[in-house]
Amino acid sequence: MSLVSGPGRGGGSDSALPQELQLFVDKHVRYIQSLDKRKDELEYWLTEHLRLNGLYWGLTALHLLGHPDALPRNEVVDFVLSCLHDSGGFGAAPGHDAHMLYTVSAVQILATLDAFGDLEARVEGGRRKIAQFIADLQNPDTGTFAGDEWAEYDTRFLYGALNALSLLGHMDLVDVDKAVEHVQACANFDGGYGTGPGAESHAGQIFTCIGALSIAGRLDLVDRDKLGGWLSERQLKNGGLNGRPEKKEDVCYSWWVASSLAMIDRLHWIDQGKLTAFILSTQDPELGGLADRPGDMVDVFHTHFGIAGLSLLKFPGLAEIDPI
């Protein structure tokens, strides 16, 4: 799935109906379908290192929009499996090194398409092999996870690992208690969480930390009111959410902030109507797709997170999403 931005721009509408009431479902479906027909553009190839993530974002958005079959299932499965290495890890595209981020996307796509059977039919013991690749990236001393053999650590990888392992049914391969301890060590003085101990609170990292604790069944460790206070403070007057204090709003935080709030039962602390209107204002009503904020170029990343945010806000006509 290409991450090429554009061609559309969020914000405009010529429709007779007020735009704040509309989600342009068909336009977004066609936009996502069109992404892989842009191979004559350099940007398509410059974003190859995100292909598998892009495919996951596009596919999930289509499922939420009620068009799960808009991408050809077997071709998607073929492509995903062509990124699998002997190690059990996935690269972003064929010929790219294996990395946690793509492995998680691959597992999520296979789970979405109910394709673990396809995996086993082609790679004997495939599930177990992938799970082992992920498990081997856990640091036995600190409990956190690396992205690959090069030992970059980040709570994103920890969350991704637990997410994929739970989908694969192999949580038993890792030390969940140690991972939980590490997440605890990332809690900051302001109630938020960062990429590692001491790192600045960031809404995206909070999602990964709360998601990890949620999968581990340890949300009891979270100071919900304090964290909820910080998260709800991310809403700006225009309804949009930012990721850190004094930063601009961005549609992708509609997902990271709102899903974190949902996981700790505090989603009602923000103005959901205003957030919905903000997300809808980032659509391109003609060519489809959502942008980070009105006036910018659309792309599949923001399209996915915007639609996922709307789904969490129970926007009519969308499939319901699990915040984790």
Partner: protein, 308 residues
């Protein structure tokens, strides 16, 4: 630039075109010429596991076009190690590359690996300062800075002064506030935080708030310091009230002061009426977008958990 196909230094390499994965690929071939050619040579040298100076040149060219391609960085790291390449030269190349691609994070991991191997932080603080002139809130740069401080024990090596200068320039820089907390309260070298340090930090936050009362960061900071020192927020009651005179709502200068005041009243015996009044001001006038949150705080008043 000339193409690799016409360069005699590359005549021995048969470029490997894109393997697009499967008979009906979602991703087929249509690279733009220059990038496509460079990638086909990279695939070819990777297939032979070639470790050479010319491969470094090739990876430089590809990184120049697409710095986010992490496989290229990884291969470059392997080549550097295999050639025992001079890491200072590598850093010298990396500096302008990092400045050109501010949002890229592969560069920072690469830099960390090299500086770790060099076992010296020489020049790094100055380099970071240059980066932060371009983007003072870049998460990768701040993460790298924290790693550097820990790795080389730079706790007292001018970091606090740098943060202070940055906050003087922009008191709303939350990243700088976070780094300050990390420097003062996150030390892992056994130095104990003394009372005078705690007093200094509280005073610093108050001074900054006086300059810009409606600024989340120092309010969060000072509350973090109080919690660290196990001090009651009531010690800030008069200070907070100065920015939030409830009797004269038109003179209220900070919703964060109101927030703190509400917390103080909630913990004080017989002050729940005052707490309600402050929370109503927040819900109705000063932060209505979070009305549900403030109403929740109201519902907690008088309950056993309110003091938590």
């Amino acid at each position: 630039m000339t193409s690799y196909a016409s360069d005699p230094a590359w005549a021995d390499i048969e470029p490997l075109p894109q393997d697009d994965g499967g008979p009906h690929p979602l991703a087929a071939i249509a690279y733009k010429d220059e990038y496509s050619e460079a990638m086909s040579y990279l695939r070819a040298v990777m297939a032979k596991n070639e470790m050479s100076e010319r491969v470094l040149g090739l990876t430089e060219r590809i990184i120049g076009m697409n710095p986010a391609h992490y496989t290229v960085w990884l291969y470059r790291s392997r080549v550097l190690a295999a050639l025992s390449y001079d890491l200072r030269t590598e850093l010298a190349w990396l500096n302008p590359t990092a400045l050109k691609h501010l949002k890229n994070y592969q560069i920072w991991h690469h830099r960390q690996t090299i500086v770790d191997a060099l076992d010296s932080a020489d020049g790094e603080q100055a380099f970071i300062a240059g980066m932060m002139e371009q983007d003072a809130k870049n998460y990768h740069v701040w993460s790298y800075r924290q790693w550097l401080v820990k790795r080389f024990a730079l706790w007292d090596a001018g970091e606090l002064e740098i943060v202070e200068a940055m906050l003087q320039h922009d008191v709303r820089n939350n990243s700088a506030w976070n780094h300050r907390y990390f420097l003062v309260f996150g030390r892992d070298d056994g130095v104990v935080v003394e009372q005078k340090t705690i007093d200094r930090e509280i005073e610093y936050a108050k001074e900054t708030i006086r300059k810009a009362p409606q600024n989340q960061a120092p309010w969060n900071y000072v509350r973090g310091v109080l919690r660290y020192a196990k001090l009651s927020p009531a010690s800030l009651k008069e200070f907070a009230a100065g920015f939030a005179p409830v009797e004269r709502p038109e003179d209220i200068k900070s919703s964060h002061a109101l927030d703190l005041l509400a917390e103080i009243y909630a913990q004080e015996q017989g002050k729940s009426e005052e707490a309600v009044r402050v929370l109503d001001l927040l819900a109705e006038k000063y932060d209505p977008i979070r009305a549900n949150y403030w109403n929740f705080r109201k519902s907690q008043l008088g309950s056993a958990s309110a003091a938590a």
